[in-house]
């Protein structure tokens, strides 16, 4: 597969409203680290949503891991999402599940045995320095801790690609560092493609990356 994400003249909108993204063209290769930046309301999160199939293109084409999103069936979309790791700005953890079970979710969906799920979840919780909170519920954690749990969940099944929407948006320095380290490690050691929507690109990241900038619905590649 030459590109894990390929958009051609991609136009996105909510219902019949004005387009949020206008005729975007972008190509992302496997194992690339990509930043999508832009002002608030420029359409960054909308673009990311289309990448995990929550928003269907109004015009143009969008291929994710070789699968066309435009007319994708429900079952195919389900299958595609099992290869993705998604981190949301608002964490989206299941509140009546423990931290450990939340991290296990993608593995459970993948059909792994309970033993494997628990082992992998504990390994990742150690990475995000939250193993001591494995039995807690998300509402018992701080925002930073919840985002680290969300990151552990996104990495649990070694996804082909991680799509992260402002993963460090409201976090303290320590939690932000943990998140960037995890994303960097995923790219460097697991060969994962990482797409991050953010306001600021950290200056201390120390890896090559691709950068798309959004302004008034138009996507520019920053060289």
């Amino acid at each position: 597969m030459e590109h894990v994400i390929e958009a051609e003249n991609l136009t996105l909108s909510y219902g019949r409203d004005e387009p949020v993204i206008i005729e975007a063209n972008l190509k992302i290769s496997p194992n690339e680290f990509v930043f999508i930046t832009g002002k608030s309301g420029s359409g960054k999160s909308t673009l990311l949503k289309s990448m995990y199939g929550e928003l269907v293109p109004r015009k143009g084409d969008l291929n994710i891991c070789g699968v066309g999103i435009k007319n994708i069936s429900g079952s195919k979309l389900n299958l595609l999402r099992r290869y993705l790791g998604i981190v949301f700005q608002d964490y989206r953890l299941i509140n009546d599940w423990t931290v450990e079970k939340n991290v296990m979710l993608p593995l459970m969906i993948g059909g792994f045995s309970k033993g494997v799920c628990v082992k992998q979840a504990q390994k990742l919780l150690k990475h995000v320095k939250l193993i001591h909170k494995a039995d807690k519920y998300p509402y018992e954690l701080s925002g930073g801790e919840q985002q680290r749990v969300a990151m552990a969940r996104a990495l649990a099944h070694n996804p082909v690609m991680i799509l992260a929407d402002e993963p460090t948006g409201n976090l303290d320095e320590y939690s932000s560092e943990v998140i960037w380290d995890l994303l960097k490690n995923a790219k460097e050691h697991l060969g994962t493609t990482v797409v991050v929507v953010t306001h600021h690109i950290p200056s201390t990241l120390g890896i090559d990356y691709k950068h798309f900038f959004l302004e008034s619905g138009v996507v520019y590649e920053v060289s």
Binding site: Y52, E54, L79, R81, L84, R92, I94, I109
Partner: protein, 269 residues
């Protein structure tokens, strides 16, 4: 705590539904038994010039269960002191035959009138006494008892169905977020819905068990038995196998149907 609340919110409407259904079955059984008792107690008396055969009268008039001759010995014995034995013998021959007729089911007034007319037109009897006034009173009482029990059961079933639908809306809100998160990670439909299905299956068993306990204990309570005795009815026993299986079947079918409706709605959204 939340899990207990989740269970209770399913168990309560299910319990109300099953209780009302079992109550309805119970009152139907009581009404049936009562009708049987009334039928056994009710007789039509006929006067016939000749001996009547059960087979003949049954072939002419439908709905007749049995006939029995009423002995005239008592009447003749009373006259023995006043009339000579020769005249008694003559009177014995001349006296018409009296019969009591039992019916197959408890009749309404139209049915009584039909039987009466058929008997009179058959040429086998000369007079028919149906005790219709007394019967009409009892029949009306019986009908109102039956209707009250039916209306009460329907009323409770409607309430419990409404409760279940209200619960359904709460489920919709409570599980929507969890299911949408699972959807974003590619969970198949069965996995997203497993939690709800498991919940209602477990709660169906619990509700059936609780209703079973109530209806096993109910006939053991002295006050209830005394009340039933004054009403001249017997409270039927709860059949542990038949009634439990019936209630469990209804509970499972009903709750699974509702959950499927909820999930379909969620899936569409």
């Amino acid at each position: 705590m939340k899990s207990l609340k989740n269970h209770l919110s399913v168990i309560f409407p299910l319990f109300v539904l099953l209780f009302s259904l079992q109550f309805s079955f119970l009152s139907n059984q009581i009404v049936k038994d009562y009708a049987k008792k009334l039928t056994e107690d009710y007789t039509i008396v006929v006067v016939a010039p000749k001996i009547l055969s059960q087979a003949v009268i049954q072939s002419r008039v439908s709905g007749i269960k049995s006939i029995q001759e009423i002995s005239s010995k008592n009447i003749l014995d009373r006259l023995k002191g006043n009339i000579s034995s020769k005249n008694i013998s003559l009177l014995k021959i001349a006296l018409p035959k009296f019969y009591s007729i039992k019916l197959q089911s408890f009749p309404n007034m139209t049915e009584i009138e039909r039987i009466k007319q058929k008997l009179l037109k058959s040429g086998l009897v000369s007079k028919v006494e149906t005790f219709s006034k007394t019967h009409d009173k009892i029949y009306r009482m019986f009908e109102s008892l039956k209707n009250t029990a039916f209306v009460f059961s329907v009323f409770i079933v409607i309430i419990s169905v409404l409760l279940m639908f209200k619960q359904m809306r709460i489920w919709l809100l409570e599980h929507k977020e969890r299911m949408s998160i699972m959807t974003l990670f590619g969970a198949p439909f069965w996995m997203k819905s497993a939690v709800l299905y498991r919940l209602v299956i477990v709660d169906s068993f619990i509700s059936t068990f609780l209703v079973g306990i109530v209806f096993v204990v109910l006939p053991q309570i002295d006050k209830i038995n005394e009340f039933a005795k004054t009403m001249d009815v017997k409270i039927p026993q709860f059949d542990l196998i038949y009634d439990s299986v019936t209630l469990l079947g209804i509970s499972l079918a009903f709750s699974l149907f509702i959950v499927s409706l909820v999930l379909r709605k969620m899936n569409k959204e």
